[in-house]
């Protein structure tokens, strides 16, 4: 039992270390009614290939997630995520951007990137997430992904064959993770900020 605990502690510590080693980037943080609002740009996710893919006429997805962590800890206090489904409309020659249930049309790819990868004043969690951590140092981890396949869609696409062999389901799970992961991902963290008293 103690070996398992030691392994768990080691794993958690290494994960925390790995996150704290992410490159820091300018992330604007303002506090409003006890919750942080973050502003940043992850437009560098859109390299040449990503831009090409976004203009292919096929539906592509941009996902941005923001997590908040205490300094030196891997424990996530809050998580906020939003996704843009982007399709170049070949009939009207503009971009159809769907965020949640809302759809809007944007004329250029630059507008699309600004809409989906430039974040301005996004609430990263609720006041109750930060209430117990007042005065402590924390940081935000931003992860921007191009075209990850959602878990649900991935499960529908890649299913284990029926049967009761033990290898199939395990392998399919691992393969799913690999195949459905984003085609391009960038990750960075904010500088350390202190949760206001």
């Amino acid at each position: 039992m103690k070996y398992w605990l030691a392994a768990l502690v080691l794993l958690t510590a290494s994960a925390a270390y790995a996150q704290s080693q992410l490159p820091p980037r300018d992330v604007g943080v303002t506090w409003s009614r006890g919750a942080p609002k973050v502003s940043f740009s992850a437009k560098d996710l859109a390299d040449e290939r990503v831009r090409e893919e976004l203009s292919s006429g096929l539906r592509k997805r941009l996902v941005v997630s923001v997590g908040s962590h205490l300094k030196g800890s891997n424990w996530r206090m809050s998580m906020r995520q939003f996704a843009c489904d982007v399709t170049l409309d070949l009939w009207d020659d503009d971009y159809l951007v769907r965020i949640g249930n809302q759809t809007e049309r944007l004329k250029s790819l630059e507008q699309v990137l600004n809409r989906c990868l430039s974040v301005e004043g996004l609430f990263a969690g609720e006041p109750k997430n930060y209430e117990p951590q007042k005065g402590k140092e924390m940081y935000f981890v931003v992860r921007a992904e191009f075209n990850p396949i959602s878990k649900k869609q991935c499960s529908e696409l890649i299913r284990p064959t029926s049967g009761n062999d033990p290898v199939g389901p395990i392998t399919v799970n691992i393969v799913r993770r690999r195949i459905c992961r984003a085609e391009r991902t960038i990750e960075f963290r904010s500088e350390y900020v202190r949760v206001p008293e």
Partner: protein, 504 residues
């Protein structure tokens, strides 16, 4: 862990590792090949071509819609140039809508935004959803400026199919990109499972080998004990395998050794007693005649007048002669015991022996009854089939006669008038023939069951204690065994076991 155990584990590990390791090696190649065949580059390329074709189709439709809008603009311009009014414009537009499939409606407005003419196609009877858009064209005819809004539409399904083809192509291209790693994942997962199987096989092997080696070690330890002279060792036999057979054989061997040693010890003891009996008989026998003669002479040669003394002499002579006679009988028995020959075995039928015993029953009854047959019922029986054994019929008969005589005497003493019964029977099992003598007398107490076969042990005043010792010696020389226990009738039961001919 013993060396034997390590060897077994090594053998298990080697066979499991070779089998499963080989299968991983083979599976790796097979998986890569299967994946390469399944996720084929050609199929991927065809899927990409399919997406491009659908995109090209949409682009062509879009280009076509622009051209149609141009055509409509030119037609309107031509009509306005020709007629200088809009009176026939609507019928021209109607013709255009009918001519161009993509066009769903045309609306012409003047510079102030007032509608000049407008036509639209009747809705599609199939009801399929359509994607519509408007292509605007500006026309100038003289001083008239017109805006022509051409509504073009294509079925929505064209766009959906493009997205579906794109999604399929994307998944396929991802599978293709991961082709090496996917088969590696399969091999790794398979390898891990195989490793677990090897671990389980090792554990099971360790448990099994531990069980086997523990029994082998116990055998070795038991052998050492036997070597040190302890023949009481018996190992447990539970399973049904070769080690159990070996253990069983070991137990049999120890039991045979124990029996042989007991037999040899007994025969040695009997031999010593025979030697003692021979010397005793010799030493006692020699002075008996002079004693008897001296006593006779003492009685016959007294010529005095003292009648009382004469009577004393006569009485003393009678006592001496009686005791000398007793001693002679004793010497006779000792001498007979000392001269007991070794059994001379030859193939015989136990039932013949039983028959000869039955023949001697009346004489024994008369002897025990002191001249008149003792009122004891003796039943003698034998199996219908011959019971073939190697035996010395005379010596064995003598032994059985001894037992039978003892039984009749015991029963007669317990039931002097009637009710005494003795049963003699011979029967056989698969490996041995048996002679059983049992009675309904008082029996022999259990604590004396082993001692009754010792020489000179007797519970009767006139007994010498040699009869049952002779029986046991004879039976042992036949390679058999004699046992005593309680008869169902309540008396004693003697069982003589003799190996059947042809058995071990």
């Amino acid at each position: 862990m013993s060396r034997f155990e390590r060897k077994i584990l090594f053998a298990i590990g080697l066979s499991v590792f070779l089998a499963l390791g080989g299968s991983i090696f083979l599976a790796q190649g097979a998986l890569r090949e299967v994946y390469r065949v399944g996720v084929n580059e050609r199929f991927g390329a065809e899927l990409v071509h399919g997406v491009e074709a659908r995109r090209g189709q949409l682009m062509a439709l879009r280009s076509g819609s622009e051209q149609v809008a141009d055509a409509v603009g030119w037609a309107v311009e031509a009509e306005m140039t020709k007629r200088r009014n809009t009176s026939r414009l609507e019928s021209v537009l109607q013709e255009l809508v009918e001519r161009y499939e993509l066009v769903y409606g045309i609306r012409v407005t003047d510079g102030e935004g007032q509608e000049v003419a407008s036509v639209s196609r009747e809705s599609d009877p199939s009801g399929a959803p359509m994607r519509t858009t408007t292509r605007d064209r500006h026309v100038e005819a003289g001083r008239t400026k017109l805006l022509i809004a051409v509504e073009v539409a294509v079925p929505d399904v064209y766009f959906e199919r493009l997205q579906e083809a794109g999604a399929a192509s994307e998944v396929y291209s991802r599978l293709q990109r991961q082709s090496a790693s996917v088969s590696d994942v399969y091999v790794w997962v398979f390898g891990v499972m195989v490793f677990l199987v090897i671990i389980v096989a090792f554990l099971i092997g360790a448990i099994v080998s531990r069980r086997v080696t523990r029994r082998v070690t116990a055998l070795a330890e038991a052998s050492r004990q036997v070597g040190a002279g302890d023949l009481t060792v018996t190992l447990p036999t539970g399973a049904t395998d070769e080690v159990t057979e070996l253990t069983q054989a070991f137990n049999d061997m120890v039991r045979d050794l124990r029996d042989s040693r007991t037999r040899i010890e007994y025969l040695q003891r009997i031999g010593a007693w025979q030697d003692f009996a021979r010397r005793l008989a010799h030493e006692i026998k020699n002075p008996l005649t002079p004693i008897q003669l001296a006593a006779q002479e003492m009685g016959e040669t007294y010529d005095g007048e003292n009648e009382a003394y004469r009577k004393k002499l006569q009485h003393a002579r009678a006592i001496i002669e009686e005791e000398v006679a007793t001693l002679r009988r004793l010497v006779g028995e000792f001498s007979a015991f000392a001269k007991l020959p070794r059994a001379d075995l030859s193939p015989s039928d136990l039932c013949d022996l039983i028959q000869s015993i039955e023949d001697s029953v009346p004489a024994i009854l008369e002897d025990v009854g002191g001249g008149t047959p003792a009122p004891v019922e003796v039943r003698v029986s034998c199996a219908t089939e011959p019971i073939r054994v190697r035996m010395d019929p005379m010596m064995l008969k003598r032994g059985v006669d001894n037992i039978l005589r003892n039984a009749i005497q015991a029963v007669y003493e317990a039931h002097p008038s009637s009710g005494g019964r003795v049963f003699v029977r011979a029967y056989a099992t698969e490996a041995a023939g048996f002679i059983e003598v049992r009675d309904n007398g008082p029996g022999i107490s259990k604590e004396n069951w082993d001692r009754v076969f010792d020489p000179y042990y007797t519970s009767r005043a006139e007994g010498t204690g040699l009869g049952l010792a002779i029986v046991k010696k004879v039976v042992l020389e036949h390679g058999g065994e004699v046992r005593l226990d309680r008869a169902p009738e309540g008396g004693a039961r003697f069982s003589i076991e003799l190996p059947l001919m042809g058995s071990r």
